[in-house]
Amino acid sequence: MHNSVLVIGGGITGMEVSLMLANAGKKVYLVEKSPIIGGNVIKCEHVFPNLECATCMIAPKQQEVLQNPDIELLTLSEVKEVKGKVGDFKVKIHKKARYVDLVNCIGCGACYEPCPVSVKNEYEENLGERKAIYVPYAGSLPNVPLIDTDNCLRFKGEDCQACKEACMFEAINFDEKDEDIELEVDAIVVATGFKLSIPSDSKYGYGKFDDVYTAYEFERLFASNGPTNGNIYKKDGTTPKSVAIIHCVGREERGYCSRICCMYSFKFAHYIKEKIKEAKVTQFYREICTPGKSYDKFVEEIKKSGVELIKFEEIEVAPKNGSIEIKYKANGKEKVLSVEMVILSSVLEPHDDKNQFAKVLGIECDEYGFYKEKDEFEPVLSTKEGIFIAGCAQSPKDIESCVAQAQEVAGKILQLYGR
C-alpha cells in the first residue's frame, strides 16, 4: 500500500472525498481538468432551497483543500493511463502548463489589464469576455490566472510580454512546459461530475434566436460576479417583462428525470421575481419532482410570488415579430404564449468523453452513459475493484446526495486500510 489516493474531479464531491481522506492521514492527489476547483456549484449564485450564496458556501471548502498539506492539487491535468490494481495503481497524468506560478502569484490581477487580447469567456458561457491571461471568474480558486496559448499573442509568435511586465512577483513564466506525472496510489475516485446538455432539438429554439438561454447561461446572467453583474438583461440590453422556464428539457430523449431540474427551475423563478418584480414568469413542466423534506415548502413560497405553472404535453419555441412564441399542448388543447425570454432547464448528462475515459480507467458505463455501479446497493463501487465513483458521475443528484456519496467513498477507502 502507498497510503495515497487519486481523486479525479475538483467539484464539491471530489473536494469532500479529498478532505476526508487527507484528514485521516492519507496523501491525496486531486486531479482537476480545469484551472480552478469548485466544479459546477461555483457557477451558481444561490443554491436551493435555502437560497444560500453558493460561492460563500463553498469558498471555505476550497480554501481548506488549498491549504491542506496532504492534498496535492493538480489543475489543468488529465489522467491518461491507469494500470495495476487496488492497493497498487500506477497512474500517468498529463499536466498542462499554466505559465503562472501558483506559489509566487498572489492573485492581484495586475496582469490582465495590459493584455491586448479579448476573447469570449467560456466559463461565462460565452456571455462575457476575458483576456488571454485570465481567471475564469472573479473569486476563482486557486486565485491564480493562466495563459490561454490559443489566443495569447506571444504564443502566436508576436513579441508581446505585457503581462510579464505588469507582474511584480515574477510569477509569469512563458517557458513553463507541460508535465507528465506518474503516481502510485491505492485507490482511485472518479468524481468527474456532469454537463448540462445544450438542447440540440430545434423545437427549443436554442441557438436559433436570441434570448433562449440554457440553465447555466441564466445562472451567469444572474450571478453578481457574472458578465452583467447580476442584471437579467435580454441580448438587446433591456429587461425582459415575461420569461418562460421550460422544465424537463432532454428528459424524453435521455430517458430519465435528473431530480434537480424542477428545483433549480423554481430557484430561477425566484431569481427573476427578485430582480424584476413585475415580470410574468411561466413554468412549463411535465411532472413536478421535488423529493425532499424541505422542497415542497420552497415551491409553495415561489408559487405565492405569482408564477404560473402549466403542465404540458408538447412544446415548441418559435420566433414571432422580434419576440418569442411558445406553442404548447396542455390537456390535449393547443395554446400559444408570447414571452421575451426563455430558459431551458435541461437534464444532467454524462460528459462527452465518458466512454473513452471509462476505457482508460478500465471501468464500465451504464446505458445512460454514467459510470456503472457494481450493484444497485453499492452505488459508489465501480465495476473495477479499487475504483470508486461518486456524485453526478454515477447518476444525476443534488449537492447533499453528492456530499453523502463522497463521504461514503472516503469510508470505503479507509476500510481498505482495514483492520
Binding site: E16, C257, S294, P379, V380, Q405, R419
Partner: protein, 555 residues
C-alpha cells in the same frame, strides 16, 4: 513584564504599497505605547516574509503582533503558524485588513492611508488585551453506538466493524431488520427484500465487533464527541456504554393521520402500503371476500399535504405495487392515481415505463376522495372534469414520517428536529449526516424520507465520517475560543442554556449558576449576546477586546 509589540506592514507587491503611504503609516504608529518594532516587507506571506517575521520576533523579543496585510480569511492561519514557529502564542496576534478594506476599494491614496492607519491602530489596541490561549488535546474512544437496527443501522455497523471498530446496536424491537423485513421486493431491481436484509443480519450477528442490544432504548447521554457515556435500558435492566460517536438511524413510519379516512381507510378492501406488503407476502392478493380483485387502485401522495413534503419514494413503491399485482393477475385492471410522478434517478423512468407497458393506467388527479359502504368508490377530479370509479381494492401509498416518540430521543441527545420531526442536519447541503452536536450523526430516514439505496449511501457516509474523524490513538483538539461564565455575575436565569445550539452549557444546581463544558462549546457567542447580566465572555472575543477595537475604529 512590559509588552513589546511588533507591527508588520505588508506591501503585497504593488497592491497595498501603491495605495497606502507606508511612511505616513509608520509616522502615525511609531509612538504608540509598547510598540518596539515596525517592519515592512514586499510580501509577508512568502517564505522570505515569514522568515522575516520569525527573526524579528526572536531578535526583538516581541510579545504581541499586529500584521497589516490582506484579509484574515486569506492568511490569518498562515501568520498564526508563523507565531507558533517563533515561539509566540498564536492568539497574541491580530490582523488588520488594509488590502481588501483599504487599498483595493479606495481610489484616493490619502483616504486609503488614513483608513489603513485607523485599522492598524484598532488592531493594536485590541491585541494589547489578547490573552494567550492554549490548545487542548483529549483522548477519544473510537467505539460507536448505533441507535436503530434497520437497514441503515446494519450498514453503518458493518462498515465500522469491518474497520475493526467496536459497535453497539441499540434496537427498540425484538429483532433486527426494520421495515425492510416486511417488504417483498425492492425497486427497481425487484430483488427479494427478505433475503437481502437477512443476509445483512447474518453478517452482523457473525461479527464479533458488533454487540446487539434488542428491546433496548437509550435513556441518557452524557459527555461529548470522543467520550460519550450512554445509559441504555434493556427491558428492565440498565447498562452503561462508553463510546466516541453516536449514530441515529431510527428510521420512519408511514403516515397514519386523520386524512387516511378521507382516502377511505376503514372501508373494506382499502389497505395501507404495509398492509398490502404483508398481504403480498402471504402469496395471495385477495379481497375480504376471498376473491382475487378484478380492479385495484393505488393512491399516491397520501398524507403529502399534511406533511408538507414529498417523500420521494412513494411513487416508486406504488409502481412496484402495480408490478406485484400484474405478476399475480395479468388481467387485473390497475389504476394509479397520482399528482405528478416523482421518479428521481437515472433508471426510475424506465421502471415506470416498463410497468405502464404492462397495462397499468396512470391518472393525474387534482383532487381525490374515497367513499363507499361495501366497495370503495373513488371520486376524483382531473383537468377534464369530475369522475367516479368503483374498484375491488385500494392501496394507499403513504408518505414517510418520523417514528412516534422520537422527540424523547431528540431531547436525550440534544439534537434539533424540524417541524415534521426529522432530525436537522448540520448543513442541508454540505453536511447532510452530521448534526450541530459534534459526534452525533444521523443517517437514513431519521434525517428525512429516502429510499433504501439512499439510506445505505448515508450509512456509508456516516461510517466514512467516523473513520475519518475518530481515529484510534489520535487525540481530538477542541475549540479554544470558548465561552466562560463568571460565577459571581451569573444570576442563574439559564437563558444561555436555551440559546446554546451545542448543549454546551449546564446548570450547577448546587451553586445556582450556569457552567460551560469547554469541550462542547464551539465559540458561536450566542450565550454571550443573550446573557442579561453580562456574566459570559467569549475567549478571544471579550467585551474589552471588542470595545477597544471599536473605539479606535470609530474615532
Amino acid at each position: 513584564m512590559e509588552d513589546k509589540i511588533g507591527i508588520f506592514l505588508c506591501e503585497c507587491g504593488p497592491n497595498i504599497a501603491e495605495k497606502v503611504d507606508f511612511d505616513k503609516v509608520k509616522e502615525a504608529i511609531k509612538n504608540l505605547k509598547s510598540v518596539k518594532f515596525i517592519g515592512q516587507h514586499k510580501l509577508l506571506c512568502s517564505d522570505d516574509g515569514k522568515k522575516y517575521i520569525v527573526n524579528a520576533i526572536k531578535e526583538h523579543g516581541l510579545t504581541r503582533l499586529v500584521i497589516a496585510a490582506c484579509s484574515p480569511k486569506q492568511h490569518e492561519l498562515t501568520f498564526m503558524k508563523v507565531c507558533e514557529e517563533a515561539g509566540l502564542n498564536p492568539y497574541l496576534f491580530q490582523m488588520a485588513n488594509i488590502r481588501e478594506h483599504c487599498a483595493w476599494i479606495i481610489e484616493d491614496k490619502k483616504e486609503a492611508t488614513e483608513k489603513a492607519i485607523q485599522y492598524i491602530k484598532s488592531a493594536y489596541r485590541r491585541v494589547r488585551y489578547h490573552e494567550p490561549l492554549e490548545k487542548k488535546e483529549i483522548e477519544a474512544n473510537p467505539d460507536v453506538l448505533v441507535i436503530g437496527g434497520g437497514i441503515t443501522g446494519l450498514e453503518v455497523s458493518l462498515a465500522l466493524a469491518q474497520s475493526n471498530r467496536k459497535v453497539y446496536i441499540v434496537e427498540k424491537s425484538s429483532e433486527l431488520g426494520g421495515k425492510l423485513k416486511e417488504f417483498n421486493k425492492i425497486f427497481t431491481s425487484m430483488r427479494d427484500a427478505k433475503s437481502f436484509v437477512e443476509d445483512k443480519i447474518k453478517l452482523v450477528e457473525q461479527e464479533k465487533q458488533i454487540e446487539v442490544l434488542k428491546e433496548s432504548e437509550v435513556e441518557e447521554v452524557l459527555g461529548y464527541f470522543g467520550n460519550f457515556i450512554v445509559k441504555v435500558k434493556t427491558q428492565s435492566k440498565e447498562s452503561e456504554l462508553k463510546v466516541g460517536a453516536i449514530v441515529v438511524a431510527t428510521g420512519y413510519e408511514l403516515f397514519d393521520g386523520d386524512s387516511l379516512a378521507h382516502y377511505g381507510y376503514g372501508i373494506d378492501d382499502v389497505y395501507t402500503a404495509l398492509e398490502f406488503e404483508r398481504m403480498v407476502k402471504t402469496g395471495k392478493i385477495l379481497t375480504k371476500k376471498g376473491e382475487p380483485p378484478k380492479s385495484v387502485a393505488i393512491i399516491h401522495c397520501v398524507g403529502r399535504k399534511e406533511c408538507g413534503y414529498c417523500s420521494g419514494v412513494c411513487c416508486m413503491y406504488s409502481i412496484k405495487f402495480a408490478r406485484y399485482i400484474k405478476e399475480k393477475m395479468k388481467d387485473a385492471e390497475v389504476i394509479e392515481f397520482h399528482r405528478g410522478l416523482t421518479l428521481p434517478d437515472k433508471n426510475y423512468e424506465k421502471f415506470y415505463k416498463d410497468t405502464k407497458a404492462l397495462g397499468v393506467n396512470y391518472i393525474y388527479v387534482k383532487d381525490l376522495l374515497i367513499e363507499g359502504n361495501t366497495k370503495p368508490i373513488i371520486k376524483y377530479k382531473t383537468e377534464e372534469g369530475q369522475f367516479e370509479k368503483q374498484v375491488d381494492m385500494v392501496v394507499l401509498a403513504q408518505a414517510m414520517v418520523p417514528p412516534k416518540g422520537i422527540d424523547k430521543l431528540a431531547k436525550t441527545l440534544r439534537i434539533a428536529q424540524d417541524k415534521s420531526g426529522f432530525f436537522i442536519e448540520e448543513h442541508p447541503k454540505l453536511a447532510p449526516i452530521s448534526t450541530s452536536k459534534e459526534g452525533v450523526f444521523i443517517a437514513g430516514c431519521a434525517q428525512g424520507p429516502k429510499n433504501i439505496k439512499e439510506s445505505i449511501v448515508q450509512a456509508g457516509a456516516v461510517a466514512g465520517r467516523i473513520l475519518s474523524s475518530l481515529v484510534p490513538g489520535k487525540k481530538l483538539e477542541p475549540e479554544v475560543r470558548v465561552s466562560q461564565i463568571s460565577e459571581s455575575l451569573c444570576i442563574g436565569c439559564q437563558t444561555c442554556i436555551k440559546v446554546c445550539n451545542y448543549g454546551a452549557i449546564y446548570f450547577d444546581e448546587a451553586k445556582r449558576v450556569s457552567r460551560v463544558n469547554e469541550v462542547l462549546c464551539r465559540g458561536c457567542g450566542n450565550c454571550v449576546a443573550s446573557c442579561p447580566s453580562s456574566a459570559i465572555q467569549l475567549k478571544h472575543f471579550t467585551d474589552r477586546e471588542i470595545h477597544e477595537e471599536i473605539v479606535e475604529a470609530t474615532r
